[in-house]
Symmetry: C2
Subunit: 317 residues, 2 copies
């Protein structure tokens, strides 16, 4: 199967297509955190995005790019994270069906979030084989369009609109850093910046305990983790061919942080910036604070990927 690599014009089309359905999120700064880091950090706040995560961008681009005929059959995905919620949001905006296959063991809050936007949750057993079987059944019955959480050119073109906005909002950035799990946001960042501002260095930030992208990057081929465990639960998934293409070709380096560093960075942001964001979103700041030389005096864009966190189970408690 030939892989379609999305282009700058896909990003521009995506931005026009999704503008009515997403927020142009604000960029926040903290003089306290700047003085700690010895750099100027510009936080692009996708935690304020519709449905609480940047994934509303890619999901909206996929949903609103469908023909009326395909759209009538709906969309489907398997995700117990933000992609499921965001696909449900986007489908609700278009008024079409959305089915999300999720392990029956997934948190109730995640199921409720999908349903809150009008989507349907179909439960599977917590295994890859069950998920694939149940998902195949859903698609066979409904004819729904599969929207992969990240390994999909429509999704990556949608995520790319985030960095496109960021460079419209902040002049003279030297670098942009984003967390990496499956690589959707980082691929979008690569797609936007390599075309629009190729002098900006792109860093990916990853938990040490789920460092498959780091090891893949060093090895030169995709390595998947075996059951990684990290507080940054949005970052456990592996790279796939399309995201690997962007990471391999456009990322300057991948930096990692320990669980404690991630939690400390998260708490620091909550405390000083007064924003609620996910553990995954704290990984970039954690890596900046442990690599100060690399960023000293630089103007750095930091993608805050999402704000959907269980307020009853905060990681420092």
């Amino acid at each position: 199967m030939t892989m379609y690599i999305p282009t700058l014009s896909d990003v521009i089309d995506a931005h026009e297509r999704i503008k009515p359905h997403i927020h142009r999120t604000p960029v926040l700064t903290s003089s306290f955190i700047n003085s700690l880091a010895g750099a100027e950090l510009y936080f692009k706040c996708e935690n304020f995005q519709k449905a609480g995560a940047f994934k509303a961008r890619g999901a909206s681009n996929a949903v609103f790019g469908l023909s009326d005929k395909q759209a009538a059959k709906g969309v489907a995905t398997h995700s117990s994270g933000n992609h499921g919620t965001c696909l449900s949001y986007a489908a609700g905006q278009r008024g079409i069906p959305c089915t999300v296959v999720m392990p029956r063991t997934a948190p109730q809050a995640k199921k409720d979030a999908v349903r809150g936007y009008g989507g349907k949750v179909v439960e599977c057993e917590p295994s890859t084989s069950s998920r694939e079987a149940v998902f195949a059944e859903v698609v066979a019955e409904s004819g729904a369009e599969f929207v992969h959480p990240y390994n999909d050119p429509r999704v990556i073109a949608g995520q790319a609109t985030c960095s496109k906005e960021l460079i419209e909002q902040v002049d003279g950035l030297d670098a942009v850093i984003a967390p990496i799990g499956g690589g959707g946001m980082v691929s979008g960042t690569c797609l936007a910046l390599s075309n629009l501002a190729s002098h900006i260095a792109i860093y990916a930030a990853e938990p040490e305990q789920a460092d498959d992208a780091y090891r893949s990057f060093k090895a030169g081929h995709i390595i998947a983790d075996d059951a990684p465990d990290t507080v940054a639960d949005g970052l456990k998934v592996p790279l796939k061919d399309l995201t690997w293409h962007f990471v391999k070709n456009h990322v300057t380096d991948i930096l990692t942080a320990s669980e404690e560093e991630i939690i400390d960075a998260m708490k620091l942001i909550w405390k000083r910036m007064k924003i609620v964001m996910e553990p995954s979103s704290a990984v970039p700041l954690a890596t900046i604070l442990k690599n100060k030389d690399l960023f000293a005096g630089k103007r750095v864009g930091v993608i805050v990927t999402g704000g959907n966190v269980d307020l009853d189970k905060l990681p420092w408690q």
Copy 2:
């Protein structure tokens, strides 16, 4: 002693004076919360203000309005809340001394916050008599200017800049609601709106368990609570003559909420709006949700007063 009532020109002067030292904070909205409330709510986010609270406005106005001669002797206050931190911030901006008298039993985080901006903490025993004695000594020794947390025309003129900004940022408001403790923010709101947009109704929101302003408003004279206890710890202090003047003359009504309603509203805002704010700041939304008829279909400004909360001791845990 004749009471000086600040005027519109004091507010305009204050705004010019403090602009270099404060943020023009953003106004956020949530379609989910709007649909719950049946109204359009515009949250003025003073949790993003310098030092994490609206009190940076009044403190900055007092500090930057001093003559050079007085400023050289510094400023002083007694406050274990945001006013102490914000006065320390403002004094640090001007490069003058600041002393905050605080009970030795005050939370370590509050002492650290004052010191973090360069202020000096002087401890007293946790009693009014000790506080007054220690404070008198500080002022006698240093000649520092006393800046009261709210019963001070300079402070009220400074707080008034918040609602002045809000009506510049949002057109056509029908009402503005703010929490009430000592009444500094509400008085500032009254001062700004009675002069600039007198058709806007002004509501104050108060915890049931510290409802001295509510009872004062109904009785027609100041009634102080006897040791009130509420999760909204910024709202335990009583009205004073200057704030009572504004409340009595310009407030449409005072609404109250239970502890549970306040905590639920706080958690709702954190969860849906992804912002960190204090329990005190949740009281307005709590009262809106229990008085839906009053606000149905209206455009309502909601002052989010501050974001300084102990992340290790959240009230829903």
